[in-house]
Symmetry: C2
Subunit: 571 residues, 2 copies
């Protein structure tokens, strides 16, 4: 929803002013919208675009060298008035004529046409190319009645580049018409946006469902389905768009620009996951991808939705699509000459070797891998609880981090065991995997623990309780040096120090490993309980509105849990 | 929330792949993240950045000429592992050394430091500059313990431009440290993001409230307040950030880069409304704004929040900040030489003159303006109902459009009356204002109606019932020609045609204007009821899951409402 506004009635005006303030390198505000604040040496045909506001960077954000010369900016989701279009087009005209281009909506057509009539009557040469890319808004037989959505960018970019290249008005109009004829889009939505000051979204889609073909202002879609996977959505997009190739395009070797557009709150990471499959499918079908775009290029406030546009190139369109552009919301072009390089990464950096090992150490390695099975299982079960505890003072990812790390460590350990590794190597592989997959502080620390214990165990000797205790003490020292935490800082160290000390003392006192481990774990659990109590207290305080940046992290809790789990496998 | 994914556990990996596919002009994927896929002629110091994923364009999106040479990309919200950082930094090193720069989080510090130690041991010259811009994460006395948030961009951009300019490692490190020392950020949030596959957001902020100082992963904020206005938020940002000027900066004449960053679902339009006040306040306090950025530069999936960063320039930092850059997520630089121009719009285009008028026509103009008072009041009351009706088949803006248009028409009419206008001119001014402020189809049509009726009334003659009927008939013809709608198309024409015909017939039959208008209105109301019934039926069908792209718009309903309102003023 839209949360930040002053008087909702003044929103469009204030937004336009803030935009012009922020983007004065490119645009200047005039009555009705914005025009370029820069001028190139040669006079150009002026491309004037426009439409309702709420679709940034469409439309004002696309004004600048290489794309538009002006944008008529209407009120929120409302076409600009004829007067606004007239004012902007008149100011933008450099004497070589004006191309008006905009999405095909009744209100826009009325106002732009009125403006065009008035400008033509005053002697300006003004033409129009409507954008009609939305395949769901009318069947192919009535293709010129389709709405314009994110395909706007394809048409504007091509027309703007042609103007920049010095084309005359006939030429700019011709390539804009060609680009529109070769552009198709397909959009979906999950929820609607709420306009400033409104108390409900423009439309709603049931939880877990997806509206197919829904317009960027909430115009009804054609169907409603369960939300597919990212790959499923990519397949739906590509399959449907390839069913409707423009005239003159055949798939084998066709060059195509995919524009995967987010409407507002389907974010970049999700779009990249979808794009991964789009890219693969297009290649599989024989198309060659040229300079794709994945991002927010035609939005609808914070509407949750996205669309795929395909612009099918010919040689001229490719030159125009790949030409530089420099606007507030869309920039393209090289800083200085660069050459393409392939970086080769030495594969040897990527794998740790498995060296020789004694049979006893191999058996111990296998036992360690089995122990990691149990640890990963226990952390799976505890992940949600650990995550909730971490939310009180941290970012809530401790549970998922421990889960990812222990799973990866388990898998790497078993692979190393299968490769004949001894205890040290099994733990080294597990350590690397834990660190790699978990990331974060806990990933680094657990990797350090596994690696250090492994060093004490070696790949050759028969490890005994004393070697384990030595390894654990060394790991404790390494962790304290590494993270610079002391007992009482409410970190994992609070549990690890009593654990390591008690283990060493019990082993030195002649106890067997399982017994010593049990006693040491009981000490760690005491410390963990202290942390858990503190977290619970802080959590209650926060839910009553108190705020503090506290330090307790659930590292002690997960540490004690791991120790207890290992104890069970020592049986 | 994150809706589009396949296996949540594979999300970060698939996201990185999709990103690399989409951005192959700039980056190449290697183990651990991405490095540039291009090389400039001269060898450069390599800037390697990184952190958890989920913050696009941070961090992979900032790799390319002018900014970073590589980015270590961790799992979602988790630092990259030491191994990942090592792999990326090693591949990025061109032999002139590596600067590691990243936000100050414990996990990142651990892993980047481990990687740095290993690279240094292998003979690479590697240094580190941490970003610590978040003023709320630690007090000024412990400034080096602060977290890094959107100020990342300021530091990376400066360091990357220095590397591009050929600075040696000492020089790149120096300006990065200087940029960090001169960068301050302040963030707020309204709601948290939900990670792929998670069933709840990372944190929640109560409805209508705003968390102050909250971190980009949901780390606790310092306070919670009611959501202010956009201007109030701007004031909060600027006031606080100006309380903490970096050493060596004094306000008068200081040059500053504001970066107003959206975290995911606070969208561009809202940001521009906030920026308008930021810009004004900075100017009022004596600061000179240089190349600001307003957009999504460091996100947190679809978290609703934003932050303001101020980078205080000196001459060297300004040169580096304004230098070109060309990366997937941040591009800057001119296409071809452009010169700045000021566009002057002729004020005469903007105002319609008020010509001479008879006293009778002036009195009629005043009555018309009073009638528009009543119309605007009635449309205020009906706006929500009309909006809901329009949502069934359209984009839901009919109510707000009629409201905006009639208010503007009313105000313009009164201004014209005060200027001594007759009936024709009052209606012409009202028409222009309605069209300008309402936009959309209905704005264009109502402007046509008012203008056409005005032509029939003139500024000189005493208007009688016959003149009104003639004007209404002419308006009906104009609207039909204009919008190409016929009776039965379920538009305003359904009500307007019977109204105009009945009015003309009743006036021709000798009835007075009020009586004739009453009869004609009754006919329009019948047509409006038909539209309302159809809309209600379609609305029920849609709520049962049926979808259709229908044409009924509530134009007939609002037309009948306006007619009835005017009838009451004819009394």
């Amino acid at each position: 929803m839209t949360r930040l506004f002053n008087d909702p009635a003044a929103f469009a005006d204030e937004m336009t002013q803030g935009f012009a303030d922020a983007a004065s390198r490119w645009v200047q505000r005039i009555p009705g919208g914005v025009v370029r604040s820069t001028r190139s040496e040669d006079q150009q045909v002026a491309l004037v675009i426009g439409g309702g506001s709420g679709h940034y960077p469409a439309f004002g954000g696309l004004v600048g060298p290489g794309i538009a010369h002006g944008a008529a900016m209407g009120n929120l989701f409302a076409s600009p008035s004829a007067h606004q279009v007239y004012s902007v087009a008149k100011a933008a005209d450099q004497g070589r004529g004006v191309l008006l281009s905009y999405g095909n909506y009744a209100g826009d057509v009325l106002h732009f046409t009125q403006a065009q009539d008035r400008l033509n009557a005053e002697g300006h040469d003004v033409r129009t190319v409507l954008v009609t890319d939305d395949i769901w808004s009318a069947p192919r037989e009535r293709i010129d009645q389709r709405r314009g959505i994110a395909g706007d960018l394809a048409v504007f970019k091509v027309a703007g580049a042609a103007a920049e290249a010095g084309y005359d008005l006939d030429g700019v109009e011709r390539v804009a018409r060609l680009a529109n004829a070769r552009t198709r889009s397909f959009g979906v939505a999950f929820s609607g946006c709420t306009l400033p000051g409104a108390d409900a979204p423009l439309f709603e889609v049931p939880e877990g469902r997806m509206a197919v073909g829904l317009g960027i202002h909430g115009e009804p879609g054609i169907d409603e389905v369960d939300i597919p996977t990212a790959a499923g959505l990519a397949e739906m997009f590509v399959t449907k768009l390839l069913e409707e190739l423009p005239d003159g395009v055949s798939l084998g070797g066709a060059r195509v620009v995919p524009i995967l557009n987010g409407l507002g709150s389907v974010k970049y990471e999700e779009l990249f996951v979808v794009y991964r499959t789009v890219h693969r499918l297009l290649a599989e079908r024989g198309a060659v991808v040229v300079e794709p775009e994945v991002g927010e290029l035609c939005t609808s406030f914070d509407m949750a939705g996205c669309s795929l546009t395909l612009l099918w190139l010919d040689e001229e369109l490719e030159t125009l699509w790949t030409a530089p552009a420099d606007t507030p919301g869309y920039r393209k072009g090289s800083v200085a000459p660069q050459r393409h390089v392939e970086v080769h990464v030495d594969a040897a950096d990527e794998e740790q070797p498995i060296g020789p090992a004694s049979d006893e150490s191999r058996a111990l390695g296998r036992a360690i891998a089995d122990g990691l099975d149990a640890v990963a299982g226990a952390l799976d079960d505890a992940a949600d609880d650990l995550g909730r505890m971490d939310q009180v003072a941290g970012d809530g990812d401790h549970g998922i981090g421990m889960q990812r790390g222990s799973r990866a460590a388990r898998d790497a350990a078993h692979r190393a065991v299968d490769g004949g590794a001894g205890a040290r190597t099994v733990l080294a592989h597990a350590a690397e995997a834990w660190s790699d997959k978990a990331g974060g502080t806990s990933g680094a620390i657990w990797a350090e623990i596994l690696r250090t214990v492994g060093e004490a165990l070696g790949d050759e000797s028969t490890a005994d309780a004393a070697a384990v205790a030595t390894g654990v003490t060394a790991a404790k020292d390494a962790v304290m040096a590494f993270g610079k935490a002391k007992v009482g800082d409410k970190t994992m160290v609070d549990a690890m120090v009593p654990f390591a000390d008690a283990l060493a003392a019990a082993v030195a006192g002649g106890r067997g490993l399982a017994d010593a481990w049990d006693r040491a774990t009981t000490g760690a659990e005491g410390a963990a309980q202290g942390t858990a109590d503190l977290v619970a207290t802080l959590g209650r305080a926060r839910s009553h509105g108190e705020k503090s940046i506290g330090t307790p992290d659930p590292g002690a809790v997960s540490f004690a849990l791991v120790c207890r789990t290992i104890h069970r496998t020592l049986g």
